[in-house]
């Protein structure tokens, strides 16, 4: 699986999204490189989730092109779409687990849909994925309503990872989690990224997550995207970016950020 480090696995060009008279994105250009964790930030209503939903095909843009794995996803035939879908996984905000199925059955849904697999093997893979995202063994047999918010997100991640995708899209993975759960979720993403070689597209509001795991950050301002490393953003003098990274919370997260990340790593998940 050798690949050039700078290969763009997702390439968005000139993306325009409108809802009625309101323009959310006006010419967004964005590259996501293979094997990186890209954080997407922006104020409320700047269309972070809309960007994610547009890339995975839940929202049709007014203009622009989106290439994933080098294919223009806006012009795919149904079969090609099916093939591309198994190469990415999406974690929605609250996990979006199917409430009538147990966690293990949730993880088996994509396996069933894409591969004809014997039940026993499917059960084994599901049980393994449950363990991989750090859930206790017996969680596989529980229904989503019996799980806490943090466990639901882990279960949602297990479902997103069930087909061993190359890209995972995470929509606010740490929102609503307590700081300990959030830090251990960050750690999980980092571990999975290094062992599975995942590319991660992560919409987040969590400054600690940004500093802890993101290689680059895309900031949505003025209906466009500015992409760069954290250091570049820290030097940016756009007023919103300044107040985001240099505001009281940004300052609190930054110097302590790397240390806090390492401390969290030491805490057993």
């Amino acid at each position: 699986m050798a690949s050039e480090p700078d290969e763009a696995i997702i390439r968005v060009r000139g993306l325009v999204n409108r809802f009625g008279a309101q323009t959310v994105h006006d010419g967004v250009d964005l590259d996501v490189r293979r094997g990186e964790v890209l954080g997407v930030v922006g104020g409320s209503g700047t269309g972070k989730s809309v960007l994610l939903r547009t890339i995975v095909g839940l929202n049709r843009p007014a203009a622009g092109t989106i290439e994933v794995f080098g294919r223009n996803v806006l012009e795919l035939e149904e079969q090609e779409w099916h093939d591309i879908e198994r190469r990415w996984g999406v974690l929605f905000q609250d996990g979006a687990l199917f409430s009538s199925l147990t966690v293990a059955q949730n993880i088996e849904v994509p396996l069933k849909e894409h591969y004809r697999m014997p039940l026993r093997l499917m059960d084994e893979i599901a049980a393994y994925k449950v363990g991989m995202v750090g859930l206790p063994e017996e969680a596989g047999d529980k229904f989503p309503s019996q799980l806490s918010g943090g466990m639901r997100k882990r279960a949602g991640l297990a479902r997103a990872l069930s087909l061993d995708p190359e890209i995972v899209f995470l929509d606010e993975p740490t929102a609503g989690l307590d700081p300990i759960a959030a830090a251990s979720f960050d750690q999980l993403i980092r571990d999975l990224k290094s062992s599975l070689g995942l590319t991660v597209f992560m919409v987040t509001h969590d400054l600690d997550s940004l500093f802890a795991i993101c290689d680059r950050v895309a900031v949505l301002v003025d209906k466009k995207v500015r992409v760069g490393t954290l250091d570049q953003h820290l030097r940016d003098d756009h007023p919103w970016i300044r107040s985001y990274f240099h505001g009281p919370r940004g300052r609190a997260a930054h110097p302590a950020g790397t240390e806090a990340g390492q401390e969290a790593a030491a805490v057993p998940a």
Binding site: R120, L121, A127, M132, L161, D164, D191, S195
Partner: protein
């Protein structure tokens, strides 16, 4: 080359670096989720040795993902469980982190799918018991809710200014005025159907004219008000549950309480009172539309002219026939509003529960309406009305 080749061969003792006497398991090709089915099948076909030294040679492995890594470790685990000593050899360095990641979580046995409890006799009997106890508990709670609402209603009598008049008028518009088209249309159609079916049967006796009697008694005494109650239970009772339930999900009910407002006064009384006032009017409207439908059908199918129809109707029904029907309307309204609101408050904090309680509210209120209607029939027959 096949995506997977696995062979168990005796390692020749003379090869350099070889462990003499060890069994070698060679993995080759791609061990991915897309090939997992074949790999799994081939692995299961191998007769695993016992108490040997086994070397898993992974040099031929070209690609691997978590499913493949899981299969490698499962095989290792199964071999160890049969008393073999296992060594993994020639693992490409790029696969190491993945295997470590999988190994770190250990080999989890899949959770067995348990037999659902209600598939056993014990579970079945238990379910009957649980349902019975549940029914008792529900009746107790509904009685409690009725008590609470009654008490708050009496408070209102002492202090009428606390009535939320605007909210009540809004409810009357939504449950009454807005329901007129559907109630009217359905009552009209029931009138048509009754006139047609009745005339068809009575014609055999040459007693077509008694279709009018049939229509008058059936619609005015029973059908008009019952039909209205069922439509309103489906339309407004469910809306009450959904509205209050959604507020419950959004914590709006709790917000009301912290602001010092009484949810029963704010939410239940206007709905209850509004519906009790509008339902008799709706029932009268339904009666009129039903009679209109019957009248037009009698004229079209039997040639009974409208004056004839009215004359026959007057002789067929007594002074009380209409009121015997309409008197039931406020009672039905009271049941529907009470159950609708009660189930709304019963919503737990999930969207799914709103749907469940709404279904429950409609089923319960229609059930209670029909039971009450039967009780009225018995009471009226005892009173010779």
């Amino acid at each position: 080359m096949a995506p997977v080749t696995i062979d168990a061969v005796e390692e020749p003792a003379d090869r350099p670096g070889a462990e003499s006497g060890a069994l070698v398991l060679r993995a080759a090709g791609e061990w991915l989720i897309s090939t997992a089915v074949e790999v799994d099948r081939d692995l299961r076909e191998i007769a695993l040795p016992q108490g040997r030294r086994v070397v898993m040679d992974l040099s031929g492995l070209r690609r691997i993902d978590t499913s493949g890594a899981w299969l490698v470790l499962r095989t290792e685990h199964l071999l160890q469980a049969r008393g073999n000593t296992v060594a993994i050899r020639n693992l490409a360095p790029s696969f190491e982190p993945l295997l470590d990641q999988v190994r770190a979580r250990g080999v989890l046995e899949p959770v067995p799918h348990p037999v659902p409890v209600h598939h056993t006799l014990r579970g079945f009997v238990g379910r009957i018991g649980a349902a019975t106890i549940g029914l008792g508990g529900r009746s107790y709670h509904i009685l409690g809710f009725i008590g609470l609402v009654t008490e708050r209603s009496f408070e209102l009598v002492r202090n009428p200014r606390r009535l939320r008049l605007t909210a009540m008028i809004v409810q009357m518009e939504q449950t009454g005025v807005n329901a007129l088209p559907i109630v009217g249309l359905l009552a009209f159609l029931i009138g048509v159907v009754f006139a047609y079916q009745g005339s068809d049967q009575l014609r055999r006796f040459g007693a077509e004219i008694y279709t009018v009697n049939l229509l008058g008694i059936a619609i005015l005494r029973e059908l008009g008000v019952l039909l209205t109650a069922i439509i309103i239970a489906g339309r407004s009772g469910s809306a009450f549950t959904a509205q209050i339930g959604t507020m419950q999900v959004n914590e709006e009910i709790d917000a009301l309480r912290t602001l010092g407002l009484d949810p029963v006064q704010v939410l239940v009384i206007p709905r209850l009172l509004g519906l009790v006032l509008t339902m008799p009017l709706l029932a009268i409207f339904a009666d009129a539309m039903g009679m209109l439908g019957g009248c037009l059908m009698s004229w079209a199918a039997l040639g009974i002219s409208i004056p004839q129809f009215l004359e026959q109707l007057q002789s067929a029904i007594g002074q009380w026939t209409l009121w015997v029907g309409v008197i039931k309307a406020p009672f039905f309204a009271w049941i529907i509003a009470l159950i609708g609101c009660y189930e709304g408050f019963n919503v737990s904090r999930s969207a799914e529960s709103v749907g469940q309680q709404t279904t429950l509210s409609v089923v319960e209120s229609i059930f209670l309406v029909i039971v009450t209607d039967a009780a009225f029939s018995i009471a009226f027959s005892l009173l010779h009305v």
